[in-house]
Amino acid sequence: MRKSSSAPFHFLTYFLVIGAYAALQVLQARGELSATMRGMLVPICAYVVMAVSLNLTVGVLGELSLGHAGFMSVGAFLGTSTAIALQDAVPVPGVRLAIALVVAALCAAVAGFLIGIPVLRLNGDYLAIVTLAFGEIIKAIFNNLYLGVDAKGVHVSLLEDTTNTAADGRLIIQGPMGIGGIQKISTFTAGFILILISLIVIFNLVGSRAGRAIMAIRDNPIAAQSVGVNLIKYKMMAFVVSAALAGSAGALFAMNYSTVVANKFDFNTSILILVFVVLGGLGNMFGSIVAAAVLTILPEALRPIAEYRMLLYAVLLIVMMLTANHPLVKAIFNRFRQTGQIQLETDDEEKEAA
């Protein structure tokens, strides 16, 4: 699972993302992309970012998070609210989207930081339990939150709509009705850029000194502590980065639809993303990207067989898991990885010789 000498693998991941983007852009320009596929491009980007960001917590940090959709929800609601509030102030959709994504990432990072303070000090499965609760709490909060914006500023109320938003203003978050009438400003290109940024952030973090410390904590916290690694600091670093990326993915996702409700980001969504990560391989970003894309497309590709599609989806999921764990397949993957490492080492030797 150690990815310390996997620079060629990083290259491969970038290659896959850029190649897929270019191929899809060409297909789209030639009009060969179906409406179904066009409609799924942005959600796939959002799910890919969700998967790689969760992989940072689960695969690299080694802590189980069951509430990743909660961060997505924070980003979706606050990012979208920002975009709506800025509708007149910032007329260019691309700029507005960028601002919304940044705000979403910041809000989710704050949420991740607050949760991390008590939880990351503990050992064991506590993070799983608390993130599970966090996901549900966020759902309950956004189901009861009213947020209005008018000339006087921002109004917030819980449970009942007592915001008294003026008629010229707009009630943005409407409790259980979520946010309606969202302008669709998310684009495939924006999603592609977000994936690239996520990969750059994660690969650089993992490859850096801090990343070594994070992986050391995963492999043996006691040993890491004994050599002077600050456990809480590095755990927090990975967790907050993961939350921030999930927040921006949430905003990207929400602004692809005209409406968003808190119930969308429930426990099932968290588990779905965890499935992407587990199926793609813990710590393996390339695998996460492929798994997220394939598993998002699969239910739609199976649409022609109507009622049986969910059954077949489950069967395919099990088959994929079994195949990925088959000794033969594992051997091939290991060989493939080893050749990569050996090549790298020979490269180094050559450099040294020169």
Binding site: P8, L24, G31, L33, S34, P176, V290, A306, F336
Partner: protein, 453 residues
């Protein structure tokens, strides 16, 4: 070397999946040259616009997705075939009828709200089969796609219908998915008439989205008015689902109107998705506050649990539901005797002696083995409303979606429609897309709905 090979292989397999999805709606992936050749003229007509449906589509464009099908069936479209065999009933993709309008809709065919989606689909299918078997000039080809009551999947389902070549839409069955798909069909200029998506946001700001059902706020007001004028109770308890648009919309307007009617609301309790199994707190609150009528603005599933738990604790107030309660009698594993005496508002009465209704109910029972609910009736009415409007506008099935969109907008705002639901004076629509319809009060007696008036 092996690394590169595997890399290429993975990339290829991913592209293959994308391609497989791309042809999701088409009957067969094109593996010979002919299909691609057939497609290129249609696509090269507009190379500059990647989104071919946002702009008013050219005839070329709308024909493109059908190419694959036409080729498969051997002959191309021009010759109208006069033998219209009635299509098989339970098939999701009925045999294509020549010169038919492609009518598509999304609804929850699986999952918690499946009873609504399937009812709407079945109702629409009966209407389509009846029209296709008649001598009507307008024929339909119906396709329903599953959205599992989720906005994201609904948009996917809508897009796959678009790939199929949908010309007119039945929107979505449930409210939140409908909000998402109606925004899409507004952007694509595909006319939409939803059988049952009752939230006001579904039609707000979209001039080509119409409703066959009354809106949520309308139901809340009507319920309070009904309880007030009929003197059904004076101390009211409301139990509602706090994370549901539908429930919230009705409850808010109900409270407003209850005030105006002089009704006293003594208990106002909520539940949400995660805790919809135990209602003892809510029921005890209602009981302790001596409520003599409990208003349940919710779907039938939680309502069935509330009825069962109230009966177990020996609490027997009057129960008053809304149209989401419809379906409780046909719910599996529910003791229908518990629903005895429950009152509800619905625009449709399956026990009506009206000739058209009786014929529809008989046909529905014959095919699907249960009584139709209002969702089935609404969808049935939608298809007939389309039939009437298309006939009046002299629309033909070779028109593209945008042209039909224009014609339908004109027809629906001017025509009067007589259907299974609504009153004797017929239904009309205003420019906003809302229908003029008043709910009927029903009470469950001996396991069947009986009109209260």
């Amino acid at each position: 070397m092996k690394k590169k090979l595997l890399c290429v292989l993975l990339a290829l397999s991913m592209l293959f999946v994308l391609a497989a999805c791309n042809g999701g709606g088409a009957p067969e992936p094109a593996d010979d040259g002919t299909d691609t050749e057939a497609n290129t003229p249609g696509n090269s007509a507009e190379p500059a616009t990647p989104d071919d449906s946002a702009t008013p589509a050219t005839p070329d464009d709308s024909a493109a997705p059908e190419d694959g099908q036409a080729e498969l069936s051997g002959e191309t479209t021009p010759e109208p075939d006069t033998t219209h065999a009635p299509t098989p009933t339970n098939n999701t993709t009925p045999a294509p009828v020549e010169d038919a309008f492609k009518l598509g809709g999304t609804g929850p065919l699986t999952g918690g709200a499946a009873i609504y989606g399937n009812a709407a689909k079945n109702g629409a299918q009966i209407a389509v089969d009846e029209i296709n078997a008649s001598d009507s000039a307008v024929k339909f080809e119906l396709r329903y796609e599953d959205d599992a009551h989720d906005a994201e999947k609904a948009v996917n389902a809508y897009n796959s219908l678009k790939d199929w070549g949908m010309q007119i839409s039945l929107g979505s069955v449930t409210s939140k998915p409908a909000e998402a798909t109606s925004a899409e069909s507004f952007a694509d200029s595909i006319f939409s008439l939803t059988p049952s998506a009752s939230s006001p946001a579904t039609i707000a700001g979209k001039d080509n989205v119409f409703q066959m059902c009354f809106t949520d706020p309308n139901q809340g007001t009507a319920s309070a008015e009904y309880i007030g004028t009929q003197n059904l109770g004076s101390r009211i308890a409301v139990i509602w689902k706090s994370d549901d648009v539908y429930s919230k919309g009705i409850r808010d307007t109900f409270l407003e109107e209850a005030d105006a009617q002089g009704l006293q609301v003594v208990s106002d309790t909520t539940f949400s998705d995660g805790n919809a199994t135990d209602f003892s707190v809510q029921l005890n609150d209602a009981k302790n506050n001596e409520a003599d009528l409990v208003f349940l603005p919710m779907y039938y599933e939680p309502a069935s649990l509330i009825l069962a738990q109230a009966s177990a604790m020996g609490y027997a107030p009057k129960w008053f539901g809304v149209d989401g309660m419809d379906g409780i009698l046909t719910m599996q594993g529910f003791d229908a005797s518990l629903a005895e005496g429950v009152m509800l508002l619905t625009p449709f009465n399956a026990d009506s002696t009206d000739e058209k209704t009786a014929a529809f109910v008989a046909e529905y029972e014959k095919r699907f083995g249960e009584k139709p609910n209002q969702f089935a009736a609404d969808a049935y009415d939608c298809v007939y409303a389309y039939c009437q409007a298309l006939t009046a506008a002299n629309a033909t099935s070779d028109m593209d979606a945008a042209t039909i969109n224009g014609l339908m907008k004109e027809q629906f705002t001017t025509m009067t429609f007589y259907g299974l639901t609504g009153t004797e004076s017929g239904l009309t629509w205003d420019a906003s897309g809302a229908v003029s319809k008043s709910p009927k009060g029903m009470v469950i007696t001996n396991g069947a709905y009986v009109g209260m008036d």
